[in-house]
Symmetry: C4
């Protein structure tokens, strides 16, 4: 298991080419946020925008439209119940993030299944939060596309069947292989299992143990995947950046709020991009 270092940042975060446009930086479609958990998809969407994704669309419960645009006018909105539009927006994305605030009811399950049926091998799918729980509960088959799963330890237990106490690198590695996915097991020292390696994040602070941190990371992962061609590096750099910013903020804060990490992304990424 390799320990991440700051070297992952300039290795991943390219200098933007002068002759480029928003399409160069990818389309991210995020799906989540039921009536109760709208904040989760707002934070994930903001993370994707502030990480530099070119175009971000948020598919969520209709009741979240106003708060989304009050916080984040840069994102486009779509109503999660309009299934034709959902299919179109998922099909048109480079990266799809599903799960933040999605919930686990029947409507959430139907949405998740629709997304699974729509994505193709030319896209990358990030499965987070309640979407992971739904996969575990309903024994869903994950689609055969480039996959990133971002469970916390309890969600990983549900999905992999490995109890938290038994989540050793060896067993996690084997389970990730079986899922044919990159797996980010979130904890105070997050581990990342990619198709070709296993990595330990040396960073992280208890100041970031607060609601919304995982949603924010999922959005960042989506934003990095949309922009950076090496997908393993994109995931690793997103995880590292998330914790590094949190540690920096924790130097003067007892708790770090997710939106503060989001706000800090543009400057942090500037300071750590390739030279």
């Amino acid at each position: 298991m390799e320990t991440l270092t700051a070297a992952i940042l300039p290795q991943t975060i390219r200098q933007r080419p002068a002759n480029s446009h928003k399409g160069t930086y990818g389309r991210v479609t995020l799906v989540g946020g039921n009536r109760n958990f709208g904040g989760a998809i707002l934070m994930a969407s903001a993370a994707a925008v502030y990480a530099g994704a070119g175009l971000v669309t948020t598919i969520t419960d209709a009741s979240n439209q106003s708060s989304l645009h009050a916080r984040l006018p840069e994102a486009m909105f779509a109503d999660m119940r309009q299934t034709t539009q959902l299919t179109d927006l998922v099909a048109g994305a480079d990266v799809v993030v599903i799960g933040p605030g999605l919930g686990t009811d029947d409507a959430a399950l139907a949405t998740l299944q629709q997304v699974f049926q729509t994505v193709t091998a030319q896209q990358t799918l990030v499965v987070d939060g309640s979407a992971i729980t739904l996969v575990a509960q309903h024994h869903l088959t994950l689609p055969a596309v480039p996959l990133v799963l971002t469970p916390h330890q309890m969600e990983w237990q549900r999905l992999s069947g490995i109890a938290i106490a038994d989540q050793t690198p060896e067993r996690n590695r084997a389970a990730a292989n079986q899922l044919n996915a990159t797996v980010v097991v979130k904890s105070h020292r997050t581990q990342i299992y990619t198709p070709t390696g296993s990595f330990q994040n040396p960073l992280g602070t208890p100041a970031q143990a607060t609601g919304g941190m995982g949603d924010t990371l999922a959005g960042m992962v989506g934003g990095f995947l949309a922009q950076f061609s090496d997908h393993q590096d994109a995931v690793l750099a997103a995880v590292y950046t998330h914790s590094a910013i949190a540690e920096a903020l924790a130097a003067s804060q007892y708790v770090v709020l997710p939106h503060q990490i989001i706000d800090a992304l543009p400057q942090y990424m500037h300071d750590h991009q390739a030279h």
Copy 2:
């Protein structure tokens, strides 16, 4: 009556353990905010989040969903009229805060009674604002659970029957004993009656005499109780922190807005935590 000092802060605000997660810092469920007073529960909820509570859920009138998430995506939302969900969310909390902006109509009374029937001795209940008025008006029996009441002087008069002019430490002490509760009597020099002591807050500034200050304190009390195991210290430290931040801001402001106190919490708590 003991006068609080800054020593209460490092005595209470622990250094967060490295190996922790959001569950470590408690679940706070806040109930309040009718159609007119939505801002009150928004401020209380934000205070709980910014004080470092691990997971915060706001149960409020449906019309407050958008403004809640526009200001505070970190909180989860639930509709106050959905009684089954309300019961579940109250039952699942470590700390329940009821009252900010709740109002005093029949619906508010029904909600309060439902919360009183749901909470158990394993939880802590903070009763604030109009919930106190409802208890007094309807002669409700307070539930036999760890209780913190946060009345201002007029609400305390309603609840205790002691006219404001007669609210001496002795009479307040006796009334708190009879209620079997920790009582925070808010005034320009707030007093706190815990099961084992009586305390005077030496801080406070007239710059904080503005709407929403009490709601903010109630949320902070909830956030501190969720994190810090000594409940007396948690309440004392929340009261002290609230006034100390207000005094600091009042050094350059004629009036201190409640949301400014909230914004200042993470840094203030960092600077005054245990070493």
Copy 3:
């Protein structure tokens, strides 16, 4: 005609007494904001809160509830169509501000008439914006209560019958006397006609010539009147403060946004209060 100086500020803005509570600083009820002009009443309400009023209630179109609390959780909300509640909230205020964004349709007229019938000589009424136009259009009798009118020059023409070109101090003075009101005639050099004097504001910058400035001033006038016992001084100090902050911001800005003036109020008032 006397030219205002900064001396009006410490003469008006008292040091807050230590033993005080939010009631000490007055209740302001603001009425306005139809479906189109909700921003106007939001800015007026925020100005009253940030100026230090103790309790602020905003009576506005129901569609403005979310944006009000997303910006200003410190204010309470009421639906302008609920006439009983409106009457209660107007009756319970120390200062009523009517007009910002009210519009001039039949519903606005009915609301204005209801307010005129409710206010008493123990209250102060600030009439602004479209409320002034309604008074002029419908030849309404102003209520026999302490009155402050804050027309811009065109609204003053409508109300007084004096064409803008003819608005000399003498004619304005006479018209204000006849109205038995304090009149603030807003222009790039605002004039104030109180029962006992005529005053010229020497400040003001073209950077503040933008939508919402008048709404903001109306809210500030309401906030100052609620707190400061000399009503002439309160109005004069509010006008002076509004322009002084705008001039300070214009030192580095081409245009000054109303919400920036609001944000600057607590510090400006601190720096210019009585010693």
Copy 4:
């Protein structure tokens, strides 16, 4: 083709005359923002306000009312479906901006046609985003009024019939002449074709390649046109300012968010106005 320099700024951005009012700085009416793309018209509207336009009205889908005022209380709102009001507000404007987030469905087409039928030669019309696509798709005749078109290269291809690879200055110049319009062809080095000249913007950074940048520019163009009498200079200065602010922000940010450009407008315009 002339390369723009910073000289365009003081040549355009006049010092505001002392004796002026909000009417001096023009009325801008912006039309756009369907249910999905509300953020676009919010950003365009904010850009017009922060650029200094005197009065700004946003005509948009009703579902965008709350987010508009939560972000921008300085703008007035109108419901895009209320056609009589739309006609009145378009007729009363000095500058009309149509397109940001308008969409391309039948309702959008009807709105666009209504605007085209309402504007007169005394007004300036800015056509942006999906409005350009609608013109191309439906072969609409542009109205015979002062016109500014702000397509990106793909929209310009649709409108002019010139494939992106073939968009040479000569062909663009000829197409702009035929359209009898000022055309701003947005790319990483934006070109502007006015009735009397062709200009190259030397500024621009890949950090601004993100959703909402074009909407923001359209609003700025509207705001500059409303204030500055030489319309060629107004368009040129708006384009230059947009990129210059983006470059300044990109000195420390990996991506520049549109709302950050908007926030920076008042200070940038102050620093570069005529002496």
